[in-house]
């Protein structure tokens, strides 16, 4: 606060005025809130709707089409919301993985020296950015429902993949204990790589010797599970989707709702990610690469030590906000009937009439996700930031 040196009536003092303004602002906001609050309680009392979160422990009595945990209509609303939250996390996580991959690919393609590739990437970016994501969801959903054939006439592009109006079916490896152990082996390999990296870095700092970390860690991550698999008897039995009556059985089923939600979100968001990646790569001046080359660094080191750390600094902040957008846009699932968090909350609201609590729960959930992501990103950004003298 500014100190004021002019003596005079109290209302000419800057401190006094700022206090008055703040009191005025606070009172306007609180009076409005109080007005809305009294209206709301009066209305609720008139409609005899109980407030509070007690309804969460009541029986939900609605079914949920897709669930990662077992759920029946006799479970509570709380569990229904948990199912929805898990579904949101599932589609967001898979969506983010695909979006980043596709976005990087298209972003690099946009910079390709091949005119055709670069132009296709440009058209892709422009088209998918400029059509509302909700319309894209409806479009893919209608493709699944109206254009795809019935299970009896299903499209089978190659063995193990089936496309029909009930979704996409993939063949999966048949149940075998070997796969569990492969999973352990994979996790073990990841840990080993982590420690290897620390050791290699330390050794390089002490002796200057460079350890071929990338090759060794890729070999570790691929070899360890493969060796486990062959030691356990190399099971090759596949669980194939087969037509049984009117539907397919076996394999892994991606429902039309989940499929079109994922497709729409990924295609829409990756167009934005591609632009971010392109801008990030272009932001690195040519001199950086030339300087690195003149130091005698090998191409891989140039990429790893010079280009990527700088490009990532430009890419990460807008990328974060796009991925947050993807998570928020996954709430559009409610429009095509995928039971995500908003969708189950919406059903809960319409069944119980607990509008305020329902909307509050939705907002709180997404706020938590957003805040956690921004905290993580701030931490990451601080780690990546330029360390200046």
């Amino acid at each position: 606060m500014q100190k004021d040196h002019i003596s005079g009536p109290i209302w000419t003092s800057a401190t006094f005025r700022s206090v008055v303004y703040q009191i005025a602002a606070i009172s306007i906001v609180s009076l409005t809130s109080w007005y809305l609050f009294t209206n709301t309680t009066a209305n609720l009392a008139k409609q005899s709707i109980a407030t509070g979160f007690g309804f969460l422990s009541r029986e939900a009595s609605f079914e949920i089409g897709e669930s990662m945990i077992s759920f029946s209509s006799s479970d509570t609303y709380l569990k229904a919301l948990a199912v929805g939250a898990l579904n949101t996390i599932k589609v967001s996580f898979i969506g983010i993985v695909f979006t980043v991959t596709l976005g990087i690919f298209v972003g690099i393609a946009r910079l390709s020296s091949n005119w055709l590739v670069s132009k296709i990437a440009a058209v892709y970016i422009e088209v998918f950015q400029d059509i509302p994501v909700l319309l894209q969801l409806f479009f893919w959903y209608t493709i699944f429902n109206n254009v795809m054939p019935s299970p009896r006439a299903a499209l089978i592009p190659f063995d193990g993949v089936v496309l029909c109006n009930r979704g996409v079916y993939f063949a999966t490896p048949a149940d075998h204990p070997a796969f569990l152990w492969m999973g352990y082996a994979f996790i073990g390999a990841c840990f080993l790589t982590f420690f290897l990296r620390r050791w290699a870095k330390k050794r390089q700092e002490e002796t200057g010797q460079i350890f071929p970390l990338l090759t060794v860690s890729i070999a570790l991550i691929i070899l360890l599970p493969t060796v486990t698999w062959s030691l356990m008897g190399a099971p090759t039995q596949m669980d194939m989707p087969t037509l049984n009556g009117f539907n397919f059985e076996g394999g892994y089923n991606v429902s039309p709702e989940f499929g079109s939600l994922l497709l729409g979100l990924v295609l829409y968001t990756s167009a934005f990610v591609a632009e971010i990646v392109r801008a990030g790569i272009q932001s690195i001046e040519r001199g950086q690469r030339e300087a690195a080359e003149s130091l005698g660094l090998r191409p891989l080191f140039i990429m790893n030590l010079v280009i990527l750390p700088q490009a990532l600094r430009v890419i990460i902040p807008p990328l974060t906000s796009q991925l947050l957008n993807l998570i928020k846009n996954s709430s559009l699932a409610v429009a095509i009937g995928y039971p995500d968090f908003v969708s189950t909350s919406n059903t809960t609201i319409s069944q119980t009439g607990q509008a305020i609590e329902g909307v509050a729960i939705i907002m709180l959930m997404y706020l938590t996700i957003s805040l956690m992501t921004s905290l993580f990103m701030n931490w990451y950004n601080a780690r990546m930031a330029l360390v200046e003298r």
Partner: protein
């Protein structure tokens, strides 16, 4: 960008040449040309080989410049060959353009007859047929306002009045009831008309609110700063659909009994609240970009806070952030499609409801392609404008 630089370089050389010619000074055009003492006209021009210029050269440089690129090009061309002819067959040769749905066979060609048969409903929703010219004029005014604002010399405070006036005029035209216009219930507004209304009016209302929020967030008064931060961060952290649910199920509870506010207006309020938070962040960026000296100079002139902001800071800050503001207008335009979820009849919802008509049920692909093209046209126009603007604005700083 590179082409632009190249062109500029060439322009410079040309200008130097012509300057030298007019001045007839020692720096003659001959010397500018690399070869010495040979007049240009008489010099035998050695043309580059045919394989390096023209179509062949272009193909070689852009499509077949390495084995990998040759492979990729051939792969893409093959895919095109597989995909494009069937698509053209479906969209143009086997398609039905006019008439009723009975003329269309599902699964054969595209049924573009959907468009002439449903276009009125898709564009205007339930707006009464004989009054639809009013909807058309309202849309033209809204689009016209946006188009009018594109020129940089019009970015003055008078522009705000233009937007305000056109909003009022649009409201009068649509609502009717005066000047001999038949009143039209706002529940009947729909289609593209409603989409434009929600986005353009939403922008008009959200802009001043966003500027106020941005100023509040830069304020030195802790209470005001905190309120602004809390508001902006909460809104930016939640999806728009939760705001729309709030408008649909919570807003009615906020008003005393007997007061009902119609659904479109409630959704509009939610969109304004949502957009304002994003505008606030953009404007804050502009405010931060103004050098401190500007504030200090203005204050030393004896201007008070409001004068400093209104006369010195905001005119500069708001101009810097026009390109990202266009970006917000684009997302607001796309985001209005979400009101379809709370069953308001915007462009997307009118299109969907025509598809529940048994006659047009099987032709949802055509219908969605049609409205996707409408959305695309509007967004593409705005985004290419904003790109051009960004280039124009940044050239001054780069060179």
């Amino acid at each position: 960008m590179q082409e632009w630089r190249l062109w500029k370089g060439r322009l410079k050389v040309e200008m130097m040449k012509s300057y030298a010619e007019t001045q007839n000074n020692p720096l003659s055009p001959k010397e500018l040309d690399s070869s010495e003492n040979v007049p240009i006209a008489k010099k035998e021009i050695l043309r580059p080989p045919v394989t390096e210029t023209g179509v062949v050269g272009w193909l070689k440089a852009n499509l077949f410049n390495s084995p990998l690129n040759t492979f990729i090009t051939i792969l893409i061309l093959l895919t095109f060959y597989k995909l494009i002819p069937p698509f053209i067959q479906w969209a143009f040769f086997d398609s039905v353009w006019f008439g009723q749905s009975s003329g269309c066979q599902p699964g054969e060609g595209a049924c573009w007859a959907y468009i002439p048969a449903n276009i009125r409903f898709v564009i205007f929703g339930l707006f009464p047929q004989q009054e639809q010219w009013r909807g058309l004029i309202a849309m033209l005014i809204m689009v016209g306002t946006v188009v009018y604002s594109r020129k940089r010399d019009r970015w003055r405070s008078s522009l705000a009045y233009v937007w305000l006036c056109s909003t009022v005029v649009v409201a009068i035209i649509l609502k009717g009831g005066i000047l001999g216009l038949t009143p039209v219930e706002s529940t009947k507004w729909g289609g593209l008309l409603l989409t434009l209304l929600l986005s353009v009016v939403g922008m008009t209302a959200a802009y001043p609110l966003g500027v106020v929020l941005a100023l509040a967030r830069r304020s030195k008064m802790p209470a005001i700063l905190t309120m602004a931060v809390v508001y902006i961060e909460i809104i930016r952290g939640v999806p728009l659909i939760s705001m729309l649910f709030m408008s649909a199920v919570m807003f009615p509870l906020f008003f005393p009994e007997g007061v009902t506010v119609n659904k479109i207006f409630r959704a509009q309020v939610a969109i304004v609240m949502f957009t304002a938070a994003y505008i606030a962040e953009v404007v804050r960026g502009g405010l931060q970009a103004i050098p401190k000296g500007q504030y200090e100079a203005a204050e030393s002139m004896g201007l008070n806070y409001f004068q400093v902001m209104r006369l010195v800071i905001l005119p500069q800050a708001l101009k810097i952030v026009i390109p990202p503001t266009v970006g917000i207008l684009i997302s607001a335009f796309k985001d209005t499609s979400l009101v379809a979820i709370i069953s308001l009849y915007d462009l997307l919802k009118t299109c969907q409801s025509t598809l529940s008509d048994p006659r047009w049920m099987g032709f949802s692909t055509e219908a969605y392609i049609f409205i996707a093209m409408i959305y695309f046209l509007f967004c593409y126009a705005m985004s290419s404008y904003s790109r051009r603007l960004e280039e124009e604005l940044s050239t001054g700083q780069r060179d």
